[in-house]
């Protein structure tokens, strides 16, 4: 069905609108994503006509270096999770290019893709939905090794125990079932599962959003430790800039299917260039009640990703909008070295 939708999309010429793809040397990057798009059909009527599309991901480009943590931030519905799943090819994109270890993974056949999956893993948001309730923790963690035919049974079991210890759980828990663990513990198991195969890339899809605040820091610290130890590259998806501040090397802010600002983390928090980023930063509570700052409220909801407004996609909610904003959808351009923004006021 996905391929089908893709074909029809192309035929309908929906993809005619494209943005200026960024051309950067891709040789050093572990992952390079170019002009990635994913449209979902919304109307699948009685006679199979599909003429409305949700522009879930609408031209996303970025690079991820070895050992880098990219924070991908945006409101719900902005396409950040879809982007994560596209990168792992759990969904097939409508168009675009994903190069991983210098290989276009969209061209990989099923067998090659299975081999590539050893190198890329995912951590999910909801630790209650991410573990098979009918498999013991040991079986869940051993499964990746069985799938990829790694090690003899004893070696696999040893590896599982070692990993449980690594994520701070009792290795004797291998015979227990997910329901015997708390949310935080389950999330650690999810982290362990992502690590079993020693991948190069982990997509963490809001890994702490559903945990208690007290547990969030523990899991973030665990991810940081692991990232450092294994020199992992990570895409850390979150809906809140505050959450990724600490862990990210680089932060990309998404709005309605597009990256609107991307910068090294300290840079982005110190001088945000896009009004949307400013608004998100203004929403972070500050512990000191005496601190005065300009309030920038985000009003209203996201416009429908089905009928995108003309011009800048943030226009309807932007506090700095000017008539010129309606002329064209501003491309993501480099304002300072390494600091990109898609706003005509920043340029």
């Amino acid at each position: 069905m996905i391929e089908d939708a893709q074909d029809r999309g192309m035929d309908a010429g929906i993809l005619a609108r494209s943005d200026a793809a960024r051309d950067e040397p891709a040789e050093t990057a572990l992952l390079s994503v170019k002009n990635l798009k994913k449209y979902f059909p919304v109307r699948d009527g009685l006679f199979g006509q599909k003429n409305l599309w949700v522009h879930a991901v609408d031209g996303v480009s970025f690079e991820l270096q070895k050992g880098e943590i990219l924070g991908l931030v945006g409101e719900s519905g902005c396409g950040k999770s879809t982007t994560g799943r596209l990168i792992l090819r759990l969904l097939d994109p409508t168009s675009g290019e994903i190069r991983f270890m210098n290989e276009n993974i969209l061209k990989a056949d099923a067998r090659r893709m299975r081999a590539l999956r050893r190198e890329m893993q995912i951590i999910f948001q909801d630790p209650y939905a991410s573990l098979n309730p009918r498999m013991t923790i040991g079986a869940t963690l051993e499964e990746p090794l069985i799938i990829h035919r790694i090690g003899a049974r004893e070696e696999r079991r040893a590896r599982v125990r070692q990993l449980l210890e690594k994520v701070g759980l009792d290795p004797d828990g291998v015979n227990r079932y997910p329901h015997e663990f708390s949310g935080g513990q389950r999330q650690r198991i999810g982290v362990a599962r992502a690590l079993v195969l020693n991948p190069k890339l982990i997509v963490a899809d809001e890994p702490v959003s559903s945990l208690d605040v007290s547990i969030q820091a523990q899991v973030i610290n665990l991810l940081e430790d692991i990232q450092e130890e294994y020199a992992l590259s990570m895409i850390f998806i979150a809906h809140d800039l505050n959450m990724v501040r600490h862990i990210s090397d680089r932060v990309a802010v998404m709005y309605l299917g597009r990256i609107v600002e991307s910068a090294p983390a300290p840079d982005l928090y110190r001088r945000p260039l896009h009004p949307y980023t400013e608004a998100l930063l203004a929403a972070i509570p500050i512990a000191d009640p005496k601190t005065k700052r300009k309030r920038m409220l985000l009003e209203g909801d996201l416009p429908s990703p089905v009928n995108l407004p003309p011009g800048c996609r943030f226009y309807s909610r932007c506090q700095k909008r000017i008539p010129d904003c309606l002329k064209e959808d501003p491309p993501l351009v480099q304002i300072h070295p390494g600091h990109w923004a898609a706003c005509i006021l920043a340029a």
Partner: protein, 284 residues
């Protein structure tokens, strides 16, 4: 750190044991099992022995449920007949569940045009009045017990197929299934380790309710003379045997009728109890 959470089975049992009708249903089902299993021990007479001196005797101490027009003991015939009912119930449901799981799993897992075609086929099958289809088929083939079980099985899998398809569609979106896919698991592993085991609880309910339906169909067929052939006793055929003499010998038809009633009721109560205990969210 460890949180005291109940195991799924304990949760199920806690909800199930408070449901009195379900417990009663379970007890009925269990006792029919025991009776069928120990039929040779429990039945006071040989079910086929004709006793011309005892033709159409009402319930007496020697024959608690009376005798039929050939002087055969009704109780013994009913005890042996329970074996037929159970066998038909279980084998027919086994067949229908296997077909249902296969078709539902293929449709739900593969999706796309295969799903469309299979579900259209299900709709077509559902639009045919099953009982008349069975009657037609039985009229063409020899009405042996095996044929009956097969025919009931291949005409009653549609509900299970729909259930399983729905479960597959829903479970396919679960994170742990996505996780297995992200690990590079092949289809067989996805289906048999991750989706199917978690898709089974509504199937169990459907199976238990299906046994009741199959028992009813077999009894109806035997009542019409298209089921299990004499001299093998079956509840339906005992009722038929008594229908011509019902004005003078009511016991021949009444007791096997009650046996069917309570057995079917038992399976239905048990099935609904399982439903409530396994899928508590569906209760309202």
């Amino acid at each position: 750190m460890a949180t005291p959470q109940r195991t799924p089975f304990k949760q199920f049992w806690r909800r199930f044991k408070g449901n009195r009708p379900a417990i009663a249903g379970g007890l009925i089902v269990l006792s029919v099992f025991v009776i069928a299993l120990f039929a040779p021990v429990l039945s006071p007479y040989d079910p086929a022995t004709i006793d011309v001196e005892k033709i159409l005797t009402g319930p007496t101490q020697a024959h608690p449920l009376g005798t039929d027009e050939l002087g055969r003991d009704i109780l013994s015939r009913m005890i042996w007949g329970s074996r037929i009912s159970l066998m038909v119930g279980f084998v027919a449901v086994g067949i229908s569940i296997l077909i249902g799981i296969l078709i539902g799993a293929v449709a739900g897992y593969h999706g796309g045009w295969i799903d469309d075609v299979l579900m259209q086929f299900v709709d077509i099958m559902l639009s045919i009045p099953t009982f008349f289809l069975i009657l037609a088929v039985i009229a063409l083939v020899e009405p042996s017990i095996w044929n009956i079980m097969i025919v009931i099985g291949v005409t009653s899998w549609m509900g299970v197929a729909r259930l399983v398809r729905g479960q597959f569609l829903a479970l396919n979106e679960m994170d742990y299934v996505t996780a297995a896919r992200a690990l590079g698991a092949k289809d067989g592993r996805m289906i048999f380790f991750h989706i199917l085991p978690n898709a089974m609880s509504p199937v169990y309910v459907s199976a238990v309710l299906g046994v009741a339906g199959a028992i009813l169909i077999e009894s109806s067929l035997s009542f019409l003379g298209l089921g299990v052939q004499p001299p093998t006793p079956s509840w339906g055929s005992i009722i038929t045997g008594g229908k011509d003499t019902i004005e003078i010998a009511w016991w021949i038809s009444l007791f096997p009728g009650l046996a069917i009633l309570f057995t079917v009721l038992g399976y239905n109560l048990l099935g609904e109890g399982l439903q409530d205990a396994l899928n508590p969210r569906l209760k309202d």
